[in-house]
Amino acid sequence: MASVTLTKINKAYGPVHILRDIDLTIENGEFVVFVGPSGCGKSTLLRLIAGLEEISAGDLHIGGDLVNHLSPKERGVGMVFQSYALYPHMTVYENIAFGLKLAKEKQQTVHERVSKTAEVLQLEALLERKPKEMSGGQRQRVAIGRAMAREPRIMLFDEPLSNLDASLRVQMRTEIAKLHQRLQSTMIYVTHDQVEAMTLADKIVVLNAGRVEQVGSPYELYENPASIFVAGFIGSPKMNFIQGTLVVPGSNQSQVSIAGAGDVISAVNSSRLQKGAKVTLGVRPEHLALRPATAQDDGLEVINVEYLGNESFVYLQHPCAEELLVARAPAYTSIRVGDLVLLDISPELTYLFDDECLAMPRTSLQERSREVGNG
């Protein structure tokens, strides 16, 4: 168990800059998730921490020690790979014991640690099996066991669940969460799946094009995204964005003019912007309420309705939005394809971004978080 500190970490392959000036502090025992689209550098960052790639510039401290030039073993990391990477010619027991034996542990200790690991991960019955005789979920558990057995200071997970099928993924997610509660060790987890990030993390690090876009708790990221990128990345289906113009700036409420939808009130502090500034209004699908348009209204056309059983997604064409707007509706919605509908947007459920894609502070949120804090 240890804390991890990254100071101005850079990684470049020749002229290609993968990571730029990453600053990050990970507390002892924290579960941190790196999330971002493919190619954002999240796996590279994890491999830098693991010691599988060299750091081009910057300092990496684990538990207070500078570890830039130490091997993975000396850093005290354990890693779970996306493809499991079990040693195919060894049994589960040998796989888990491999690192311990290399560390010249006594046979007694090796046996105890392997047994303990197997017990935690419910692998006792599988110890004599070879990897090819096991299912994907079992292999993944062995891979976790192999990383755990040496009792590393930090555990690293590189998209460990993306090779599993959907139901198994949910199950393993819960098991990893339980494992973290039980071991209380520092864990760093890379995924492109924002649901995994939201459910597992104490702290989420959103990466975009080699930079840290935002660091925060799942709640902070969802309620107070720093930029359009984070707002669009966290939440599924993704947030709707509509271009508009700021009509009345204000420190408590702002009025935005949206073509085809009239003026919308947004509960954000936009006092730093001028009247007439170009802004983007963000509304989550669950906060878009729909009502049928009357003949004289200028309604939006329904392009598609997806029925999911527990709910429906309604896709709308908006003249000023590049993508279709998505609204979350009850499963038995009366809205049909081709209908014209109007949007009801309540001010405190909106987000507003300036033309540099940065978010305006939400005023209603502060009150609400205070309520949460008081309760």
């Binding site: 010691g51 993975p72 493809s83 499991y84 040693y87 491999f98 290399l102 990897p131 005789e133 096991m134």
Partner: protein, 290 residues
Amino acid sequence: MTIQSLHMQPSTRKLIKHLLLRTAFWLLILAIMLFSVFPFYYAILTSFKSSAQLFSIDYLITSLNFSNYQTVLSQTSFVKSLWNSLLVSTLTVAISLLFGLTAAYALGRVEFRGRGTVLLIVLAVSMFPQVAVLSGLFEVIRALNLYNNPLGLVFSYTIFTLPFTVWVLTTFMRQLPKELEEAAIVDGASPVVTLFKVFMPLLWPAMVTTGLLAFIAAWNEFLFALTFTLTDDQRTVPVAIALISGGSAYELPWGIIMAASVIVTVPLVVLVLIFQRRIVSGLTAGAVKG
């Protein structure tokens, strides 16, 4: 022939065509079998004949006469050359595999500048015909004081088996998943441990195959063996067989030569039979999600 029989039912015609193709296929296989097996079969046949029977042509074994085998095995120089061959071939295989494996690790898994060039040079070495390097190699062996010594043969054979070994093992080494190596690194394994504890067990099929081929090449090699040895007790079997002579300059003891050839071939057949079980594919199954 009536007009009716010319216009057979389409299904009958199809059946006849099918049968004809079938027959032609099996005839072809038979011909290939005959071509490849007959010389060896005839050698066995001849080895069981007494010198009086030699010039009668038979295609079946009529009598089992072991006198040729007795003669061959009673020659101490032949038995000695068998041991020499075994020693030379085994050492060649061992050295080739050891160097081949370590070279393949470097060429297959370590990124360095000029990797492709090195591979090409390795390949180029094996392109020269043996005769071209014979005189040069002779000087080297003399300088190393290995003339008329089986170790000289090991040295020269290794030069010719290594390129092949390196290429095949490098190809296999590249196919092993990168994560496997990284997992070993995270587990604290040094490159040597990774190579011998993680990669080598996975490369067994490739090693057995290349090892067998290297063994056969070394076992059957003639030119170097003839050039770099002088005395009977240092020779390997191919040379020993070629130098078997009869009672006079006008007699070639075919029966004895054939018996010796059969004796020499048997170890190879046995080796292939032993190791064919190890030449199994899919040994990496289960390492990564397939």
